[in-house]
Amino acid sequence: MSDLSFQPDEAEIERRVEALLFAAAGPLTAGEIAARLPEGCNVARAISGLRARYEGRGVELECVADRWRFRTAPDLAFMMTEEREEPRRLSKAALETLAIIAYHQPVTRAEIESVRGVTLSKGTLDLLLEMGFVRLRGRRRTPGRPVTYATADRFLEHFGLATLYDLPGVQEMKAAGLLDLSLPVGFELPDPGRSADVDDDSLAGEDDTPEFAQDFVGN
């Protein structure tokens, strides 16, 4: 299908990557782009070339959820009245829940409740799941095997984040130990959010931390 014999030069590769990203309906990974180019093309270089070229323009190249996409410059938001979609308004509770999932993932329902100190009202998690911001990730290897939640790519795409590392303030919070789900020793606070089937006492278990760390880095 493609002209495999012809080895494009750097400028030509950049042109092609530009065309692909412009045409695509969604963000593309470097791998997906490479698959459409002759073998041996340096996609990374083409992307950084394009990125520089579009810097400060009305349209910019951005990395979200490890994928690349063109999007309009944020400072021009005011012009886009016609394109703007009325955003689904998230309640304060839903936003806080989303933030807790984003910064602590993978996290169980009980853990979310324990950070907020209130029971998660019905509808909050479903809404986030339905909007595609949050996904069921797996099960915690603790008694009761509670389901854990994590953010979905759509979350990163929506907020224009390249990876979970790029969450605002995440490094500082981590350094301050604020993202640690195991509470300090001897910490007994009345916890209305915690239901009868307490399952995060055993969180300190060694199985857990690696799973989190791995997941966190892996994304």
Binding site: A23, A25, R36, R116, L161, L178, G186, P192
Partner: protein, 273 residues
């Protein structure tokens, strides 16, 4: 217009009203005790880890007191937190003498843990603010409005989450349930006519006050009407007979046992177990 004559008092009254309003608004804004505590802690304007927990406890207790004074229905959570804080405060203030309370962590540790927890919640609130300040898709930034007709579909990526799978499953099972719905066996009732006949039959033996349970027939197998239905129908029928003047009925107090008795003489009911 009459500014000059306006006494100062009115101003303070107005301020008081405003304060009260502010309180109401605030209570609505809180989601739980931890959120209230965080808001109160902010008024101390110090690092959340250097917070005065005794002061915070007092502030919170005042808050709860005020809310109750105004008859706000406070959820139990708030009161549990209040008593816990009162306890913590007293432990913080008392000299630490008794070592026999070994199983409980020192009050300072508990206070530090509370401060930490508030800091954690605060961090999440800040995270929300920072996230919302970011340019958001379709609100601040926009992708290609008209992607090419021959769209390049990211090939290896299928848009189906576990949640989609679960909801697809549940929807179908629901539909299946609705499809296969059959009204099932009708709940059989002990007919009133039969109850009346039964009562007439046993009437001669109801010379003394007899509990309703013993008068009503008892089902012999599981197929027929339930015991409740036997009892209810017998009661209905007996009320009819009472109206006709054939029987008397008595109950000493609400929910107490009902007793039946025929009018006139007869043989006592032979009680069969």
């Amino acid at each position: 217009m009459t500014d000059a004559f306006q006494p100062n008092l009115d101003f303070s009254a107005a301020a008081e009203v405003e304060e009260r309003e502010a309180f109401v608004v605030d209570l609505d804004g809180y989601e739980g005790p931890l959120h209230v505590l965080l808001a109160l802690a902010r008024t101390q304007k110090v690092d959340l880890l250097k917070l005065s927990i005794t002061q915070l406890a007092e502030q919170y207790l005042a808050f709860v007191h005020e809310a109750r004074r105004r008859n706000f229905a406070l959820a139990a959570d708030y009161l549990v937190m209040a008593s816990w804080l009162a306890y913590l405060k007293s432990r913080l203030l008392l000299p630490r003498a008794d070592k026999d309370k070994g199983e409980e962590p020192p009050a300072e540790v508990m206070a530090a843990a509370l401060a930490f927890r508030l800091q954690k919640l605060e961090a999440m609130r800040k995270a929300v603010e920072q996230l919302m300040a970011r340019p958001q898709l379709k609100r601040d930034v926009f992708t290609r409005g008209d992607p090419e007709a021959t769209v390049i579909v990211p090939s290896d990526r299928i848009d189906a989450s576990l949640y989609d799978l679960m909801s697809a499953y549940v929807t179908q099972r629901r539909r299946e349930g609705a499809r296969h719905y059959s009204p099932g066996q009708r709940v059989e009732a002990f007919p009133l006519e039969a109850a009346r006949d039964w009562l007439r039959e046993v009437m001669p033996r109801l010379a003394d006050w007899t509990p309703l349970d013993q008068v009503a027939p008892h089902p012999e197998d599981d197929d027929g009407p339930s015991q409740a239905s036997y009892t209810a129908s017998t009661l209905s029928a007996s009320l009819e007979l009472v109206k006709e003047g054939a029987m008397e009925i008595r109950q000493t107090q609400a929910f107490a046992e009902l007793f039946l008795k025929r009018r006139g003489g007869g043989h006592p009911l032979e009680l069969t177990p």
